[in-house]
Symmetry: C2
DNA sequence: TTGACAAGTTAACACTGTTAAGTATAATAG
DNA sequence: CTATTATACTTAACAGTGTTAACTTGTCAA
């Protein structure tokens, strides 16, 4: 009678009295099962993302397809839709990864120096070299899908460093240190960003300007021109 | 017997002794017929081109399709292939039209002034305003299909003015006039072109920079910065 | 054991560029 | 005047795309 009054799961708990996590065995199994399946789900999601990243870089924006991704990970194309709402969201994740690396590169440039003007130079260099080193990502981020830049990062990604803020901060520091002419930092930042983008984007997408030494040459001129305009 | 010895076409010629173009009547009919059909063919080709132009601007690079063009002119999609080898060639013609207008705009800027520095400013303005006014063409020409810039113009199009040469000439004039610092004009030209492209391209394709007054502001700064760097 | 839910697949739709084959019509040759 | 040939164009099809709906299968809970 006592046995009957005792709920069945208590019996199961009595069967394994070793020190374990809370709950009955079946509860523990259930918990582990769900976490296992969550892990599997997350793993598949990551597999999709890494395959997408790879294939995107390999084939470029125009020739990147969901069916390729599906084939690469050994799943049917529609499986991707269980993890991403559409191709756009998947591309956005690739872009966010790019923004993350881009922001880190700029931050590293900032951190590599202490003087504001030196920092500005370093940031510019980092920008320039990121573009030339990762043209497919760069094109996606700033040429093909520029609207991604404003879209907030998805929940499953850490928000990338705000690259633009790094530039603004550097300019502010320069003005505060009396090394950059006082002025609207937003204007300055726009000027810097847009002009350097011109050099990078043409260098990576127009054969006419594709020669690396040309780009390097132009960047040297540009750097000097900018310094003369901004610095006191 | 004389009649028999005379070739039949001579008889036809005798039938219409009025002053006309060379040959027999049948020859004349034939000639007119072929020219008429050539005209029809050329008309259809032009119809394809204008429809393509229109639909391209309307729908943009990504959503422009041959089937749309076919529907617009009331022909089957495959008819286009009788006049253009593929979609790419059609797009190229659209781009060439863009290059033509672009070159003319720059040339007009050049012609509007006599002083080399004023010419440089005018050319820059023309560049800037062309980009903002024709973003879809600009993107095609300098962002999406940059390789078109180097491809020689097709036979049925007059070659567009070489925009880059206008810039180079202006810089050379400036140096010759002692108003621009001596230096490698190719380097100067690259610097000017690439930086101004940055402003234009971001203004027309990144919402972050899309604000017109922002672009105008940045361009003002840019213009001043360039003048200080290049001019004596 | 049944029923619900999850994961994944298949089939299909509406597109795309592009090619091959077929069909009228007009021009030409005998 | 008829037979043939070339021209202009279309239809059908292929291989590919993103995307949706319906279906199957396996796992878990009651």
């Amino acid at each position: 009678m006592a046995k009957q009054s005792a709920p069945p799961f208590k019996r199961a708990a009595a069967k394994s009295p070793t020190l374990q996590s809370e709950g009955t065995r079946s509860e523990r199994i259930q918990a582990k099962s769900t976490t296992r399946r969550q892990k599997q789900k997350a793993a598949l999601r990551r597999a999709i993302l890494t395959a997408a990243e790879e294939l995107f870089v390999e084939h470029g924006y125009e020739n990147f397809s969901l069916r390729q991704v599906a084939e690469a990970i050994g799943y049917s194309p529609t499986t991707i839709y269980l993890h991403f709402s559409d191709k756009d969201e998947l591309l956005f994740h690739v872009a966010v990864e790019g923004f993350k690396n881009f922001g880190e590169a700029l931050q590293a440039g900032y951190d590599s120096e202490t003087d504001p003007v030196a920092r500005l130079t370093a940031i510019g260099r980092a920008y320039f070299e990121f573009g030339l080193a990762h043209p497919v990502h760069y094109r996606l981020m700033f040429m093909q899908r520029g609207e991604f830049f404003l879209r907030p990062a998805p929940d499953d990604c850490e928000a990338p460093i705000d690259s633009f803020t790094i530039l603004i901060r550097t300019l502010e520091e320069g003005i505060a240190a009396g090394k950059i002419k006082p002025g609207d930092v937003a204007d300055y930042a726009n000027l810097v960003w847009m002009t350097i983008h011109g050099i990078v984007s043409l260098a990576i997408s127009m054969p006419y300007f594709a020669d690396k030494t040309y780009a390097e040459n132009t960047y040297t001129h540009y750097s000097e021109m900018l310094k003369r305009y901004l610095c006191i």
